[in-house]
Symmetry: C2
Subunit: 500 residues, 2 copies
């Protein structure tokens, strides 16, 4: 009698697939060094051209003459100037005058508009005799319509300087206002990330932008990235170019004291994933294609020796201070350190990029039906951004472990794990376990996608929602760049992320 063959469940199949991918990385160096962009557009993907040893300008010019299937050979670090200190918001009026500006647009969202920080900014401007107009209706989690509304408000006033006060939503919206005020004839999609938009590089200088964060999470005060929900294309995307970065970020720990504990927590989880994802992103020398003009070198360029310093330091700070900041709303030292960590992580991921947690988070938060996160006082379903990135993190870093065991072990060590006897092949597993323990101890975190309302029947749609996030997926170690293969990998990752 033949043995009964029991079909494996989807979960078991997913685990098996992940194990296969992890333990048998594709032998083709192109596939193990993902080049997502390249495989979409170039038939030369498999030509395995060796990188020429650059030797003076002749080779340099040859290298730069035509779009190239070669990987990049340089990285660029750009960050806003950062001022950090309790009470430093009061200096903003003088900053405006020092920058020679006279017509300011002050931007925030309706919630922050009521907080003391706005009153402080107004007084600082008034004291210096600066004229300003206010736009206080930024949408939290900006959508295409809200961004268009904000741009429409900025254009006729034509300010010579922008001040953004708030979290990532207000800062990102302000960046968009600045970009399209300076490029008034551009179509919204001109600068939006490819493949959804045209992804044109930004030429010419934008107006000065001063960003004053009121949360410790996004790092948007240092980055050239603006994210919003492009509803017409049913995807969360945005614009990313270092020309968009604020001129000055004023990180004033007094402005984050108003954060409710739940907001401090989910913002902090965003910092955690910024640091871990940028630390484990593919190295910049593996990102393809090499740009033909430096203006085309993306801000999200892969891990590099300078972003590494920021990412790892931010990771250490989050692990040390986030639990304290969440547990005790009066722990100002922890709050200050979290604001600093958010900014450091901003410089890190702003110049290296994020990958799977962020790529997968967009459909997770976008397709949410009914989950309402504890501690958030909202009337509609909401998975806070930080929660939506952290919920897949244990699955993601278990998967990415084999791409660079040393980095995953170094990250695990930051969590306090004794890695002296851990085998390289267990690096991802060990980091994943450390992450789970950290998240559980923080409290109030969904232990997987099931707890935010997803079932296995949603996975195909979640995968379809992730695949267009090429800008971040191209930095993910372990993806092959071949759409069907990556679909399978992402499916397995979402399966794995269902519960922990």
């Amino acid at each position: 009698m033949p043995a009964v063959r029991i079909a494996p469940t989807r979960a078991v199949r997913a685990r098996n697939l992940l194990r296969t991918v992890q333990n048998h990385p594709p032998s083709c160096p192109c596939h193990s060094n993902p080049t997502y962009h390249q495989t979409q557009s170039s038939p030369h993907f498999h030509r395995h051209r060796p990188r020429p040893r650059s030797n003076g300008l002749a080779q340099g010019l040859r290298r730069l003459a035509t779009p190239s299937p070669l990987p990049d050979y340089a990285f660029e670090l750009a960050a806003s100037s950062i001022r950090f200190g309790p009470g430093s918001t009061a200096e903003v009026g003088m900053d405006v005058v020092n920058m020679g500006a006279e017509r300011v647009m002050l931007v925030t969202d309706p919630g922050v508009a009521k907080l003391p920080v706005m009153e402080n900014v107004r007084k600082a401007l008034a004291q210096q005799g600066v004229k300003w107009e206010e736009y206080t209706t930024c949408r939290v989690e900006p959508k295409e319509a809200s961004v268009k509304d904000a741009i429409a408000a900025a254009k006729p006033y034509n300010p010579d300087l922008f001040i953004a006060v708030g979290g990532g939503s207000a800062m990102d919206t302000t960046k968009m206002m600045n970009l399209y005020t300076c490029n008034p004839d551009a179509d919204l999609l001109d600068f939006v990330n490819a493949p959804v938009g045209k992804g044109l590089p930004i030429r010419g200088k934008l107006r000065p932008l001063i960003a004053i964060p009121t949360t410790a999470g996004t790092g948007s005060e240092t980055t050239g990235t603006a994210i919003f929900d492009l509803t017409s294309h049913q995807t969360k995307t945005g614009v990313a170019h270092r020309a968009m970065k604020p001129t000055l970020g004023i990180c004033d720990p007094e402005n984050t004291r108003t954060m409710p504990s739940a907001v401090a927590c989910s913002s902090g989880l965003d910092v955690l994933c910024h640091s871990l994802e940028s630390w484990t992103a593919i190295p910049y020398q593996q990102r393809r294609p090499r740009p033909t003009n430096p203006i085309e070198r993306p801000a999200y360029q892969g891990a590099n020796p300078i972003s590494d310093i920021f990412s790892l330091q931010a990771l250490k700070s989050v692990i040390k201070y986030l639990p304290r900041a969440v547990a005790d709303p009066d722990d100002y030292e922890a709050q200050e350190q979290m604001l600093l960590a958010a900014t450091l992580a901003g410089v890190g991921f702003g110049n290296a990029g994020v990958h799977l947690c962020h790529g997968m988070s967009y459909p997770i938060s976008g397709m949410n039906r009914s989950y309402m996160h504890n501690g958030y006082d909202v009337s509609t379903p909401l998975i806070p951004h930080g929660v939506s990135v952290a919920v897949t993190a244990p699955a993601v870093f278990r998967f990415t472990g084999p791409s660079n065991p040393d980095r995953h072990l170094a990250a695990a060590e930051c969590f306090g794990v004794d890695i002296s006897n851990v085998k390289q092949e267990n690096a991802g597993e060990v980091l994943s376990e450390a992450l789970k323990e950290f998240l559980v101890k923080l409290g109030d975190q969904p232990r997987g996608l099931k707890q935010v309302g997803y079932t296995r029947s949603d996975i195909d749609v979640l995968v379809e929602g992730t695949l267009p996030q090429r800008r971040v997926l191209m930095l993910a170690p372990g993806l092959s760049g071949v759409q069907e293969e990556d679909k399978e990998t992402l499916t397995a990752l979402f399966e794995e992320a269902m519960e922990y």
Copy 2:
């Protein structure tokens, strides 16, 4: 019969004095937290006003209303954008076009003018159809006359962008050309550091400046500092303001391959001292006075949590890679890492400052009578800058140890010292010994001031030459800010630095 009392030698007296200062720091918190600036100018030095807890704008404004004897409460991080990659010099023509410039001034010194890097820059500009003029007569170790000559060359051409190619001398000279081209009616002393010059803050934007370093040392590609010999006032000083920092630093390791081994070594010693001095500078919250306008916050503002990250990473890299780069001119990896370390240290000290080694180095190199450093092909006496800062380092860090034993021990640990059983009071001694060993192993380093031709009879003049370096002395831990006391301390330090 009474015991014969033998008068102690100057050296013994100096050691005793240093020991006294080290082991009995002044009990007045003002004196142990040096406030050099303040004590020179304010009768309120001893009023010990408590720092008010900032609480909204009212206090903020009160705090900012008048020049204040309070210490600073914020720090600011500003750095040039940095591109790093072998061959990336070839991109500079496109950068010029991307920045919208049309009239470029290309600046270098006569030595670098003959190197391949200049040919590469010219080709990159020509290929993009950019017009440029060249100024190739920057003086190595710029003097007042050479700086004035360079400014006079730039003004009539009135370029809309500057490119500096070379070491610190060429980059610093170019910064001065940019500053005074944009402020054509200003007197040279208007922006020169107080107390020698007026130290006016720089208002308005300067022209874009692209810096292409050909040495791995100065870090000038990321800083707003320009140093030169103000011969009319017999002092080495300069201009320092973050508005002077280059727009973009192109760090191309192919451009440092031409460095002779001796130049690699002394440049690397500059990096070593940049990192150690910024790491051990007084914290920014102890620097006085608190600026009344953020434009007056100096770039050299004291150690802060972001500069710390750069300084410590740079220190680790120098210790690892400088000996390799010096020993083997074909060790390209070590050269690349040293170029990166120089840039990281530049961000560190550019935002925190340097102190005693640099302050004491200016008279050491300026008053040199006959010392000619091995490996330098020059016709006149020369103590390379890096040698002149490193020669006092063992004495300096022995002295500064008690100001922050933990930081000195952390630095010693970077040199490979097992610090697990070192007592806090020995931190300076241990770091000093580690430094000596490192310098001796590097080879060709003078073991103290005697070996560069100084005797004890020179000390008074060396001290007098150091005292005007207020901008850096105010960041030195352990100086009291009282001129007569600091004279004694500096005298003891120069004695101690005579030989090791």
